[in-house]
Assembly symmetry: C2
Homo-oligomer: 210 residues x 2
DNA sequence: TTTAATATTGAATGAATATTCAATAAATAA
DNA sequence: TTATTTATTGAATATTCATTCAATATTAAA
């Protein structure tokens, strides 16, 4: 019971910080503003996070956790099927129904820290590796794909997804966005079909093996 | 002559700001620090950039210009050849010899602004579209590829490159970095070979056409 | 040379920054 | 109950922040 209130308060503070970052940008968030937003004095914020770096680390933990939380089930839901349906898989990987639940601005603001903070870099990496493993595990459940290099395939798929969202974030018009999105989806289809093809016809005709 | 000194001073200020951002992170750069770094009073900095937003816009202009400046020639150097050598092309696209000339930390710190500033978003997009056009133009010089969809191919290649650097920035060990890099290079090879294949065998066997 | 525009300086502003501290309130342990 | 730990408050700190202003120096135009 003793630690309960502490943990909850910390969560509350980080959540508040996240909301503020969404609205006003991480660079404009201060301890005083967080306190004001939550109706508590800044000294209480600092009681739980003795300096600002700890606050940022807390925020990043929160973001990465949330990122994983919305990403993984999208993949996991497909686990029951005996064969991977490429169309369904791609649809889900690119869904971002959760666009409303997740703020790319805050995500990338925090991402920029990996270049100055080793431990943040590790955290980011861990998450990205985890997601790849999750996808690999899913691919391994497919009776055909399992005999190929699913780890490699997962890497190739994710690099397209991540590159796609990096690029798509710059799009303004819905029409253009959708058009590009379609394009990148096709690119992932091709990866899957090429791998299936490679497996079924012995060694493939181009270097896809790695 | 009148505007010369003004332009040079502005350049000098932005360059100083960039150096500081590299060293200490964009979030830790202030007008006073820029002035101190360049041996001028903060009021002079503000004489040329009347508010901080203009400074940031200046920095972003600088970064994007530099980005383009090191990227484009990498592609353009290949323009003389009558056929695109995929191996050479990929080698160059992923070279990043310029890692020393360009700071990804500052780049991504600025990238994060696209989510809060429409005009910055446009600038970023323009650059990325330009690079794709440059690559498309290069691909168009290849006698085989020219009869395919070079625009589409350029998009597909760049999404891998950009996703790759996003992901590779999280790598610490040189060994792992190189291994992943190799993987993504292969992924781009495959795109090129698949397109050549598709062209030469009429309509391809899977959906690569888009 | 005189005039006008620009460049540069240095001091001053109030607001916001992260952080500290002592005091009190509440909860838990003895 | 008392003692001890934790939660919470509010005031105070020095520092840094972006920005302003008036004064001077330098340069270009008349």
């Amino acid at each position: 019971m003793k630690n309960t209130i502490r943990k909850e308060r910390k969560k509350e503070i980080i959540s508040g910080m996240y909301e503020l970052s969404r609205r006003e940008g991480l660079e404009n968030v201060s301890i005083a503003k967080i306190g004001k937003h939550l109706g508590m004095p800044p000294s209480l914020v600092m009681h739980y996070f003795p300096n600002k770096r700890l606050l940022i680390l807390g925020l990043i933990d929160h973001i990465l956790h949330q990122y994983q939380l919305i990403y993984k089930p999208i993949i996991s839901k497909l686990e029951n099927n005996p064969r991977v349906d490429p169309e369904l898989l791609v649809e889900r990987l690119f869904s971002r129904e959760w666009n409303l639940l997740f703020d790319d601005g805050v995500f990338f603001s925090c991402y920029a820290f990996i270049f100055r903070d080793q431990s943040i870099k590790k955290e980011y990496k861990n998450l990205h590796v985890k997601l790849r493993v999750t996808l690999k595990n899913l691919l391994d459940k497919d009776e055909v794909l399992v005999s190929g290099d699913t780890g490699l395939l997962a890497e190739k798929i994710f690099v397209v997804i991540e590159g796609a969202y990096y690029y798509l974030s710059m799009m303004d018009e819905a029409r253009e966005y959708d058009q590009k999105l379609e394009l990148f989806k096709n690119q992932v289809y091709d990866l899957i079909y090429a791998e299936i093809n490679r497996i079924q016809s012995g060694k493939g005709m181009y270097s896809s093996g790695g």
